[in-house]
């Protein structure tokens, strides 16, 4: 403990020394690398997720990642495998469900929503069972749920990079037709765009993104990188390319600021990334209100 106290980072007025402190340790470098990879992939995929109004699906997929990760830890496997395995499997199930089952029911007893609620609670409960069986240190559970930047291994960074690049590559290939299919599925279908296949592929991408983000912000706070940056960017501009670039920029900035703030203080990284993401959204929304930018067409 004494050693830790001596080495404890101190935020000063000299930015060069601050950044030097930030990059001194390997674990922090790994955290920044992982955070950057995740922020770029999640920003881009989250942008499409908002456009397609599937944020609830993303939330559910992340919830399923929790028992995956805690189960993997219990069995002595890397948590990364559990995240990707469970999130991608759940994404496949969601992708194969009929599209109607995912829409909000208008009235009457909507059994689908009861099912989603049950699945979420069951997934979180199973995750809790695994952490109880593991009998590990107590902060492990909160780390999985609310994020932790300690102990990101080199192997985890490479896995995140590989999956992130693969997801982005797929997104680049299907981006244009996906945009078309998201904005106007009927016309897209009439023009011969494979809407069903695209939406299945996209849910898989969403599963990958949910698994990646969970490893930085934790299962419960994935909205911080998957929703907030895209929501902020879409407030500021209506042009596709600019809005996408802005989303990635905000996501990366929120991650870096969040990691740095968590490094220099005693408070958890999940709180900081959510707060910076939310602040970006509030700023963007108020800028639009003050600047009187034109509202998005069709709203």
């Amino acid at each position: 403990m004494a050693l830790l106290a001596v080495a404890a980072p101190r935020l000063g007025w000299n930015p060069v020394s601050d950044i030097d402190q930030l990059l001194r340790y390997h674990f922090m470098l790994n955290a920044l690398r992982a955070g950057t990879i995740v922020a770029v992939a999640a920003g881009a995929i989250g942008w499409f997720m908002i456009l397609r109004r599937q944020s609830f699906v993303g939330h559910t997929l992340a919830t399923v990642g929790f028992p995956g990760a805690s189960g993997a830890v219990w069995l002595g496997l890397p948590a990364t495998w559990g995240y990707f395995g469970f999130c991608l499997a759940a994404a496949m199930v969601v992708g194969l469900l009929p599209r109607r089952a995912l829409g909000a029911a208008s009235s009457g007893l909507s059994e689908e929503s009861a099912v989603i609620g049950t699945v979420q609670a069951m997934a979180l409960g199973a995750g809790f069972l695994f952490t109880s069986l593991y009998h590990g240190f107590l902060s492990g559970t909160t780390g999985l749920l609310f994020g932790s930047f300690l102990g990101v291994t080199d192997a985890q960074v490479w896995t995140l990079l590989a999956v992130g690049l693969a997801a982005l590559a797929v997104l680049v290939v299907i981006g244009r037709p996906l945009l078309f299919a998201s904005v106007d599925p009927d016309v897209a279908r009439a023009r011969g765009v494979p809407v069903g296949a695209l939406s299945f592929l996209f849910v898989l991408l969403l599963g990958a993104a949910a698994a990646e983000v969970s490893q930085i912000t934790g299962t419960l706070l994935i909205f911080a990188l998957l929703v907030m940056p895209a929501a902020a960017a879409q407030q500021l501009t209506t042009r596709t390319g600019r809005s996408l670039a802005l989303t990635v920029l905000i996501a990366v900035a929120a991650t870096w600021l969040g990691l740095a703030a968590a490094y220099f203080s005693a408070y958890p990284v999940g709180f900081y990334i959510t707060t910076f993401g939310f602040a970006a959204y509030l700023l963007a929304a108020s800028t639009r209100l003050v600047g009187g930018r034109p509202r998005r067409a069709g709203r």
């Binding site: 609830f56 929503s113 049950t118 979420q120 609670a121 409960g125 069986l133 909205f223 907030m228 939310f278």
Partner: protein, 288 residues
């Protein structure tokens, strides 16, 4: 493991053995009443398509409870105040809150982030008496209820059930056809506000039993199963209550027999199992 052996060899002796512990008796009584209240309220939550409200309440419950702890007051004050105020706020905002809504989702994610901050403030502060407070709020600690805590929880649950029975008929009418109901003089808006306040109270109760993350399951699993088994609303309501209570009994028995299985998981597992059985065995619900 001897307990497990006893339970398998002679279930009655096993149950008697289990109820020989005061904390088990308290857990069974309080848990049953909480589950009954949650199932009754949950059936209407599902009927009124307000499951998203339950999801949001789990975030608010966590942050409210930890705010109270960080401020050094009773956890339950923050829990109930947070949940009821939030329920009333949702009632005022109307039914605009949709599951996909980006704004609402972002706000709740941030509220949860705030809860994590408060958790750290509490556990690293000087006043912390319970290092596992965060886990207990998230996943419940039904065996940790003291005598006075479980009595109060049981009384509040009875209160919720009584009010629900009193407003069940007009609330059902108002939920199924708000326009006709209000034309017939049913105070639809007042009922909606009262109902969401009750949902808030129930969320606070359920958080003590199974934790804020699993309360959604306690609300929706029995309701989903009941909807599979019958089409008649008043029958379904009581079927849901029965299934909820059975889930708690089964869950408590499992976690007593296998002590490493946390009770909140066991309760959720039984509730989910009942839903799956109902989905497989029950008749298909009418379309629409």
């Amino acid at each position: 493991m001897t307990v497990l052996g006893l339970a398998v060899a002679d279930p009655f002796a096993g149950v008697a053995h289990m109820l020989g512990h005061p904390f088990e008796v308290r857990a069974v009584i309080a848990g049953s009443l909480i589950a009954a209240a949650a199932a009754l309220v949950g059936w209407f939550v599902v009927l009124r398509s307000q499951v998203f409200t339950g999801d949001a309440l789990s975030h608010v419950a966590f942050t409210g409870a930890l705010a109270a702890l960080a401020a050094g007051i009773d956890l339950r004050i923050g829990l109930f105040v947070g949940c009821v105020v939030f329920g009333l706020a949702m009632a005022v905002l109307g039914r605009n809150g949709r599951a996909d809504d980006v704004v609402i989702g972002s706000v709740f994610a941030w509220v949860l982030g705030l809860g994590v901050l408060l958790l750290t403030v509490y556990t690293t502060g000087s006043g912390a008496t319970d290092a596992s407070a965060g886990i207990n709020v998230l996943f419940g600690s039904i065996f940790g209820l003291s005598a006075s805590q479980s009595t109060l929880a049981a009384l509040i649950a009875v209160g919720v059930i009584v009010v629900m029975i009193a407003i069940a008929r007009p609330l059902l009418f108002a939920s199924l056809d708000p326009a006709v109901a209000s034309a017939r003089g049913v105070p639809v808006r007042v009922l909606g506000v009262v109902f969401l306040a009750l949902v808030g109270v129930t969320a606070g109760e359920a958080t003590q039993a199974v934790g804020s993350l699993l309360l959604l399951g306690l609300l929706s699993a029995p309701a989903g199963a009941a909807a599979r088994l019958t089409d008649r609303p008043f029958v379904a309501m009581w079927v849901a209550v029965g299934l909820g209570v059975v889930s708690v009994w089964g869950g408590l028995a499992i976690s007593y027999a296998a002590s490493r299985v946390p009770p909140s998981f066991a309760i959720m597992a039984v509730a989910t199992g009942i839903y799956l059985l109902a989905a497989l065995a029950g008749p298909r619900p009418r379309p629409g």
